[in-house]
């Protein structure tokens, strides 16, 4: 049930911001500080989410096979690999390290 509540809230919230952009008069959201904040919020959230999902197990900080997988993804990004190759690199390396007992 909790999951459906979260899904419902996300559906409504995400659709509302999309629609707001199309409907509000230009200028209402055009203040430079608002624009800067909207550009920086995803950066902060994505950085925190990347770190948490790589280095946590529940509420504990851990370093495990996922760290190797993320390093592989980072390398793939530096080599300008396509999106799906980046994700696949992380998955394959993580599975490989686990298979080797890492």
């Amino acid at each position: 049930m909790n999951v459906w509540i979260a899904i419902g809230l996300t559906v409504v919230g995400c659709y509302a911001v999309k629609l707001a952009g199309l409907l509000v008069p230009a200028g209402a959201l055009e203040r430079p500080v608002v624009r800067r904040l909207a550009a920086l919020l995803p950066v902060a959230l994505l950085a925190a989410l990347t770190a948490q999902q790589t280095f946590s197990s529940g509420q504990a900080l851990v370093v495990d096979a996922r760290a190797a997988g993320l390093a592989a993804a980072g390398l793939a990004l530096l080599l300008r690999a396509p999106f799906l190759v980046v994700v696949a690199a992380a998955v394959v390396v993580t599975a490989g390290v686990r298979a080797l007992g890492g």
Partner: protein, 233 residues
């Protein structure tokens, strides 16, 4: 979702075929990433039906990944949805640009709003005139929406079928997606400072606060860095 560089360079009155080709290129490439979402959702303990509902009704990738990640970590529905919502706020700014560019009839706007995401905006903004922009927006939106939903279903069913998703390393798909989304955003020292501060806050508060809350605290890195920069200049 992924920011695609859309090649432009054509003069006014671009041939429709060229617009469609660009739009399909982006739509297909990114639409296939729904597979990664389906797999991640299943690995997070989200049902196939719930994963498909998210792709059908939320349709903004980073928010979807954030939500299932937060739920998997044991976050309550409100903090999980708040993180997803904040990631979606950038779409409002895309809408602002698009409403001037596309000049859609009022009746069409509620429908078009669902397709206002990174990729459709990138393709539409790359076009030299309104007709091409409308065509690019529509073709990118339709192809991406159809594929994203199909591949979400396939990914979720596939991950369910193989059972132990951790043994297959599928729990690394989520963070890899976030990293791939984040990397192109780190263009200036401001963005990098925000990322580093958010990382420290996100990991630092993780052992101390309930799941989902540290991510929201990490979001404060954005106003904090802006404020610090404002004071220095």
């Amino acid at each position: 979702m992924v920011k695609e560089a859309v090649s432009d360079g054509a003069a006014v009155g671009r041939p429709r075929a060229a617009v469609v080709r660009d739009a399909l290129g982006v739509g297909v490439a990114v639409g296939l990433s729904g597979f990664a979402f389906g797999v991640t959702a299943a690995g997070s303990g989200i049902s196939t039906l719930q994963a498909c509902a998210l792709s059908l009704l939320v349709f903004t990738g980073a928010s979807q990944f954030a939500l299932v990640g937060a739920l998997a970590a044991g976050g309550n529905p409100f903090t999980a949805a708040a993180g997803a919502f904040f990631l979606g706020t950038r779409n409002a700014f895309y809408g602002l640009r698009l409403s001037q560019l596309l000049r859609l009839p009022r009746a069409l706007r509620p429908l078009a709003a669902h397709w206002v995401i990174d990729e459709t905006t990138a393709v539409a903004l790359a076009q030299p005139d309104r007709r091409s922009a409308r065509l690019g927006f529509a073709v990118t939106g339709l192809s991406l929406y159809v594929l994203w939903n199909l591949t979400t279903l396939l990914g979720a069913l596939g991950a369910e079928a193989i059972g132990d998703t951790q043994a297959w390393g599928l729990d690394a798909a989520g963070p890899a997606v976030f990293l791939a989304l984040l990397a192109p955003m780190l263009t200036t020292s401001t963005e990098r400072a925000v990322a580093v501060l958010a990382l420290v806050l996100g990991l630092g508060f993780l052992p101390l606060l309930p799941a989902g809350v540290p991510v929201l605290i990490a979001a404060l890195a954005a106003p904090a860095v802006l404020w610090a920069k404002g004071r220095r200049s």
